[in-house]
């Protein structure tokens, strides 16, 4: 029985510059932030990042690690615009493949199903077609003869996702109201790393939850990382909500290089333990 437990450092140590990297979660919700922070401590760069974008995209953009972003948006949810994403776009820091939210889902689905594309009605007539000249259309072979957009498969070299619980073999469980697309990210990727709040015995996964909560199957998982608070500052219901004060501090710090350097020094210059300790200190100062 294979034990896939590893540290965040070991997981990101398997990533290489130039890879196409899928990041799970959605906006500022259940993002594998500890894995992203660990990635920032490596020199892996030149990434093609595929994400329903949130502060994962923001942090990687701020550090100059993105060569190309594949996304429908980047947002902090309670703060509509992701400041590092908008700044990076405005200085032309990376290439963007801008897709619609549903196209993105069908692109991941195509990759997971080992199909070259899936047809969708979305994007016809919109400038998504103009800014993505590689998009092609496909005509129905049936009597309707309708023309659709052929969303290309979003195949990934690696995926990073964060869930509430997992066992050491890679069976992973979400306990909140939305699975997002983390299973699809894992299926669309050649290697997938699941971080979780807590690693539990397989027999305990269903102690307090229904079988439908078992989202990710171990056949699609390369490594399992236990990292409590690993989605911070994004939400990880029901374990914790989004850390709104901290997110506001992040967004404010992103406004200019000097405050961002101070934020980086304070929160992102050490390991995950140092980060969590600095976050605790941040909250103690506020009370």
């Amino acid at each position: 029985m294979s034990d896939k437990t590893m540290s965040a450092e070991e997981a990101v140590g398997r990533l290489r510059s130039g890879m196409t990297l899928g990041i799970g979660g959605w906006g500022s919700r259940r993002k594998p932030m500890a894995l992203v922070r660990a990635l920032l401590r490596t020199d892996v760069t030149d990434l093609t990042v595929v994400s329903y974008g949130g502060p994962d995209v923001g942090l990687l953009a701020a550090a100059g690690r993105i060569r190309k972003l594949v996304a429908a948006f980047a947002t902090l949810d309670s703060i509509p615009l992701e400041p590092h994403f908008t700044a990076a776009r405005q200085r032309g820091a990376f290439a963007l493949e801008e897709l619609d939210e549903a196209m993105f889902m069908w692109g991941l689905t195509a990759a997971a199903q080992r199909l070259p594309f899936l047809p969708v009605r979305a994007a016809l007539g919109s400038d998504v077609m103009k800014v993505n000249p590689r998009l092609r259309t496909v005509t129905s072979p049936y009597d309707d003869g309708e023309e659709f957009v052929a969303v290309p498969a979003l195949r990934l070299d690696a995926a990073l996702v964060h869930l509430n619980r997992a066992d050491s073999r890679g069976n992973a469980q979400y306990l909140g109201p939305d699975p997002y697309f983390d299973d699809l990210f894992c299926q669309a990727a050649d290697t997938a790393y699941v971080s979780c709040e807590q690693i539990v015995d397989t027999a305990d996964l269903l102690k307090d939850a229904a079988p439908q909560s078992l989202l990710v199957k171990r056949a699609f998982v390369t490594g399992v990382v236990e990292t409590p608070g690993g989605a911070h500052f994004t939400s990880c219901a029901p374990d914790y909500d989004r850390d709104e004060p901290f997110q506001r501090a992040y967004a404010q710090a992103a406004r200019d290089p000097e405050t961002w350097r101070a934020f980086t020094d304070r929160f992102l210059s050490g390991d995950e333990q140092a980060y969590q300790a600095a976050v605790t200190a941040f909250h103690e100062e506020r009370t």
Partner: protein
């Protein structure tokens, strides 16, 4: 708000997907009054069985609609969404992606989000809390939501389910009920003049000879808005009174 609610009149048993405070209040008001069969979410993954106040958790959950199901539901067509618009033009093209040249925008906004899939699959209305020539522009910088002319150019697959029932702003209600499917003033909110609307719009609107006023809320609707749905008065944060 009543104008937003009216967008869902006669919609039947479909999902009302309002984005923004006033559209959310409008959809809830519609369900509490003349459109009881609407489906509503809590803004996240739950379909709410009761009609709670803004920000309040649902008392009853009647269904589950995580993002993956929501995106798939769009293609079924059983939904009417009311989106925001950073820019909108006379053909109904909408932009929430970026301002300026897409390759190097002067102002990056959200990205296209679900605007392309929404506009081609289910009725899509728009809500603009601050009507100005910066929003109502001659040409949008990036077509996120597809307007009538662009859908027609793209062919039958694009027009088949395409419909923009209305655009609602703080000044009035607009539609595309003209021969060339360009924007028309349907009604003025009480106290607003045609001149005010024309000055605040960056393109030539069709203005009928007689423009009615948007209907005012009745006593029951006022009570529902003030006492039940928005006792914290969040609506005036979006549209200053």
């Amino acid at each position: 708000m009543v104008a937003c609610a009216e967008a869902w009149r006669d919609a039947g048993e479909i999902l009302a997907s309002p984005m923004g405070t006033v559209p959310t209040l409008g959809a809830r008001l519609a369900r509490l009054t003349f459109a009881p069969d609407l489906l509503l979410t809590d803004g996240e993954a739950l379909l709410v069985g009761d009609t709670p106040a803004l920000g309040a958790p649902p008392g009853i959950v009647e269904g589950w609609l995580p993002y993956r199901q929501h995106l798939a539901l769009v293609a079924t067509g059983r939904r009417h969404v009311m989106m925001g618009a950073s820019q909108i033009d006379r053909h109904g093209n909408q932009n929430i992606s970026c301002i300026g040249d897409w390759a190097r925008p002067t102002r990056q906004l959200l990205g296209v989000r679900g605007a392309p899939v929404n506009t081609l699959n289910n009725p899509t209305s728009y809500w603009v809390p601050k009507h100005s020539p910066r929003v109502f522009v001659e040409h949008v910088d990036m077509v996120s939501g597809v307007g009538y002319a662009r859908a027609a150019e793209a062919g039958p697959s694009a027009t088949r389910f395409h419909r923009i029932p209305e655009v609602i702003s703080n000044l009035g209600v607009f539609d595309f009920d003209t021969p060339d499917r360009t924007m028309r003033l349907r009604s003025l909110h009480p106290g607003v003049t045609v001149e005010q609307v024309e000055e605040s719009t960056g393109f030539a609107l069709t203005v009928p000879a007689e423009v009615p006023y948007t209907r005012a809320p009745d006593a029951d609707e006022l009570r529902l808005i003030r006492e039940v749905l928005d006792p914290g008065d969040l609506r005036t944060r979006e549209v200053p009174a």
